[in-house]
């Protein structure tokens, strides 16, 4: 079994009208055995910047700790939060540092620029950045996720509609992947608020 499908994961980020949504499944497994159904894959870096990490769970945790550390240090030095593009470059650089012994995780970065426009991007496990204007996906269910997002996505969705779209895309895709699923969690982030909801899908 491939190392990136050892724990199982599914992540999506989508762009809406002056908002973005980031969603993940909640399963932590060891190959086919489910260990927990409340594993956290999406982390807040600051109020309008979230990073979702798919792949090997230990590297998800290590990458998050390292990114949190770097952002805190940036904050102390610059006395402000990082912009999403800057953070994406940081993630890319940190991953490429380990080019010949990489972290087995594929992050998606989602944030709001200072002018309120949403920003999303994904990188592969060695830091190849891919910006997108509509949606990005990551994880073992990525093929299903691409299909679901491509067919369900519409530009300029309001936060509530965006929540519905991203949730349906996530749930329908993880139902086709045995090592991701067991519910979902969705964060819909606008300039003034964050709404977090958990999803209950097929709990298997």
């Amino acid at each position: 079994m491939s190392i990136t499908s050892y724990n199982g994961s599914a992540l999506i980020a989508m762009v809406g009208k002056n908002c973005f949504a980031i969603a993940s499944d909640r399963r932590l497994g060891v190959q086919f055995q489910t260990i927990a159904t409340d594993f956290q894959r999406i982390f807040e870096i600051h109020e309008t910047l979230y990073v979702g990490l798919s792949g090997l769970a230990t590297d998800v945790q290590t990458m998050y700790q390292r990114l949190k550390f770097r952002h805190k240090l940036y904050n102390l030095r610059e006395e402000r939060n990082m912009r999403p593009e800057t953070f994406a470059s940081l993630v890319s650089a940190m991953l490429y540092e380990k080019r010949f012994g990489p972290y087995f995780c594929e992050p998606i970065i989602a944030g709001l620029n200072e002018d309120g426009t949403p920003f999303i991007c994904t990188t592969d496990l060695i830091g190849a950045k891919q910006l997108s204007k509509d949606f990005v996906v990551s994880g073992t269910a990525s093929e299903s996720l691409y299909g679901a997002c491509e067919s369900m996505y519409k530009p300029d969705l309001e936060p509530e509609e965006l929540f519905e779209t991203i949730s349906q895309a996530l749930l329908s895709s993880v139902d086709r992947d045995c090592i991701s699923g067991w519910g979902g969690i969705v964060h819909v982030v606008s300039a003034d608020q964050v709404i977090t909801r958990t999803l209950k899908g097929r709990m298997d």
Binding site: N7, Q33, A36, L56, A57, T58, Q61
Partner: protein, 205 residues
């Protein structure tokens, strides 16, 4: 064939491991206590490669004691679990420790907590969990019978069900198990479940 599992009850956490030390086809010891008492209110049940298990758990125990000496206050369970994870994560890409563990502790502000930590340094806080081949049976039993805030007696009934299932259904099942508890009164051995005793002297005497 080593098994470690644990669960959180009403104001306490239990960790159970088998107590066989096996080398190839020989059982060297049937009363090998694999649950290290890290400090007054923490337990760490480790399974895996024998050398790594003992070395790593002693290393963690001594580092936790060192923190206490240096700073005058003990580490919280969450901090101890994260410290342990960090040691495993750093070693993972150099010289990995092949040990899986369940870390349990009791803190005054948080109460009892249980952490799953596998050999590739995946850390997760859980109410119930297990590692090893025995976990295939134990996790299902706990999904069915575990309730939140169980009393010690009810928890022991569940533990006994799990041990009975492992004995019945796992080929080369370990004969003996040790159960340790951590609650507000500290970390201590609660019970043994033995079917085989170590011989005390040569058979002729």
């Amino acid at each position: 064939m080593e098994t470690v599992f644990g669960l959180v009850g009403d104001g306490f956490a239990l960790v159970v491991t088998d107590t066989s030390a096996v080398q190839s086809i020989v059982v060297q010891k049937t009363d090998d206590d694999k649950i290290m008492v890290l400090d007054s209110h923490k337990l760490m049940g480790c399974t895996g490669e024998k050398g790594d298990r003992v070395q790593f758990s002693e290393f963690i125990q001594k580092n936790i004691a060192l923190y206490h000496f240096r700073n005058g206050i003990p580490l919280s369970t969450a901090a101890a679990a994260n410290f342990t994870r960090n040691e495993l994560a750093v070693a993972l890409r150099k010289n990995p420790y092949q040990t899986n563990m369940m870390i349990a502790g009791w803190d005054k502000d948080v109460g009892p907590s249980l952490y799953y930590l596998d050999y590739i340094a995946t850390l997760h806080k859980l109410e119930k969990g297990g590692l090893g081949y025995g976990a295939y049976f134990i996790l299902s039993l706990m999904d069915r019978y575990y309730e939140k805030n169980m009393s010690v007696d009810k928890a022991l009934e569940l533990v006994d069900k799990c041990i009975a299932e492992v004995r019945a259904r796992l080929v080369v099942a370990p004969p003996n198990f040790v159960i340790k508890i951590v609650d507000k009164d500290g970390a201590r051995t609660l019970a043994w479940r033995k079917t085989v005793e170590e011989m005390s002297g040569p058979p002729s005497q």
